[in-house]
């Protein structure tokens, strides 16, 4: 599903002393099948933006299009429930929202709420559990007996069981150990590709934005500050630093290396091993 924001404003507590414009004339387009990273420091408007995506809130001015659904000011959306079925949001620490007696019941809660027939639910529970890498024997267990990483997978399976076409991930790796972080991100990327989703990743990790995103949207004070491919955005360190962000560590290192050796060492998608080869050549060659 294509997602388009057209000059969207969102104002909290309008006409009161606490009036606060959280989104300010925001326009962008996210094509079907893309992964977009949204970055910005605390208070830049990220949370307000993602709440528009499944109609939790509506724009104060402007228009949001998600596939055929349109969100406009002061007009109750006609198909709010249908929209929510299409847009799955994985909020921060989704495992805090688990509540059922068994893993199976928890995963089934979403589809049951949307009126999916019982037989179909069983099928979807099994599929989603498999997609997030939960072993079948865990389905009868209480989710509260599982480890933190497994609980997060249960919560994610519950969202996938609704079969969304858009997946919104809000800091999906917060609190996980390094292996857990990589496993969860690789899992999302695989699901994104297999199910041909449109994915939005809200993250503080510039590393993840570089590794997984097709485009990066940088927000500042409710406005779109920058937009482009990861390489385009991360080539502008100073501009990012002005809004209290930074480039991935690889880019930071390349800038320092260029400085030290007095010649540019550019980012060309190299991994650590390839960078080591470049550096070994620089350090070893007296003519360099």
């Amino acid at each position: 599903m294509d997602i388009t924001f057209e000059k969207v404003d969102y104002t909290y507590q309008a006409n009161s002393p606490f009036e606060h414009k959280a989104l300010d004339s925001m326009s962008f387009h996210l094509p079907t099948g893309s992964v977009t990273a949204i970055v910005g420091h605390t208070g830049s408007g990220k949370s307000t933006l993602i709440q528009h995506l499944n109609g939790l809130i509506r724009p104060t001015n402007g228009k949001v299009r998600i596939g055929d659904y349109v969100l406009e000011p002061k007009k109750k959306p006609k198909h709010a429930k249908a929209l929510r079925e299409k847009v799955g949001i994985v909020f921060q620490y989704p495992e805090h929202q688990l509540f059922e007696e068994t893993v199976e019941k928890d995963i089934a809660f979403g589809p049951r709420n949307f009126g999916v027939p019982e037989q179909e639910i069983q099928k979807r529970v099994a599929e989603s559990a498999q997609a997030v890498g939960l072993r079948a024997d865990l389905l009868k267990r209480s989710p509260f007996e599982l480890s933190g990483g497994q609980m997060r997978r249960v919560a994610i399976a519950g969202i996938l069981a609704v079969r969304p076409r858009v997946l919104v991930l809000d800091e999906p790796t917060a609190g996980l150990d390094p292996r857990g972080q990589k496993e969860i991100m690789d899992m999302f990327y695989r699901i994104h590709q297999e199910q041909q989703l449109t994915t939005i990743l809200v993250t503080h990790s510039m590393e993840d934005a570089l590794a997984y995103a097709d485009q990066v949207l940088v927000l500042d004070k409710g406005k779109k500050y920058m937009e482009g491919t990861p390489v385009e955005v991360f080539s502008q360190r100073q501009a990012l630093q002005q809004v209290q962000l930074d480039v991935p560590e690889m880019f930071q290192f390349l800038l320092k290396a260029s400085d030290r050796f007095g010649k540019p060492v550019a980012y060309q998608g190299q991994d650590v091993e390839r960078l080591a080869e470049q550096l070994a050549a620089l350090a070893g060659d007296p003519n360099e």
Binding site: G175, P178, Q252, E273, A276, L279, G284
Partner: protein, 277 residues
Amino acid sequence: MHAIEFRNVSFRYEEDQPYVLRNVSFQVETGEWLAIIGHNGSGKSTIAKLMNGLLFPSEGEIFINDIPLTEENIWEIRSQVGMVFQNPDNQFVGTTVRDDVAFGLENRGVPRAEMMERITSSLEQVRMHDYLLHEPYRLSGGQKQRVAIAGVLAISPRVIILDEATAMLDPLGRKEILDTVHRVQAEQQIGLITITHDLNEVMQAERVLVMNDGEVWMTTVPRELVKKQTELQQIGLDVPFVSQLAHALQKLGVPLTEEPIDHEELLDTLWTLHSRK
């Protein structure tokens, strides 16, 4: 003096349940910064809860300032161990920053005049004094955690424990918190324990305790720790970018004698090699 000592500590929630900590021993000296790392479920947070008496050991002993921790002296001891948790929104009670910092002091019956003084000085230490009358929930994540730290400092602890206190913050908020606690720790010579998954945060600590499956896997200094890249990856952890790069260089035969702690150290070494040719 040991600010904290664990002596052969084991813990399980019930007698018929498996141990979540087995035979854990370590010390933190006064004025020292110890980082605790380990995979999710390795026992890190259980250690934190044992340190200020939210849990008690099933076996073994814990000493705070060389005094054994018991159910009788827990209230006294708790004022010497300040904890800051992961979620800044879960630890506010006051309607203003000032009231929030006052909460811990009121609980301990500190006289009003002294209370005002301690509130001022602890908020100044975390550079949040300008926000005295602000509502905590309107602050940024980093500011909230700084106020939480001020609340801890106000009770003059001998040890501060940050239990993944930077996990929910943006990079700037993380830096704010680490700079703040590191400065305060150095000024006041208190013990600092940071429980974290952030590898670059680990590199700034003086010593590192690595937990794996409820046991101490290793106690070492950061520069030694990063030599164990393969082993760390096997237990769900990793080493920082600069260590990965240094190891890749070593594999190519570049003679690096010491593990670099940051980008600058690695570049210095490479530049020296280059100049010698």
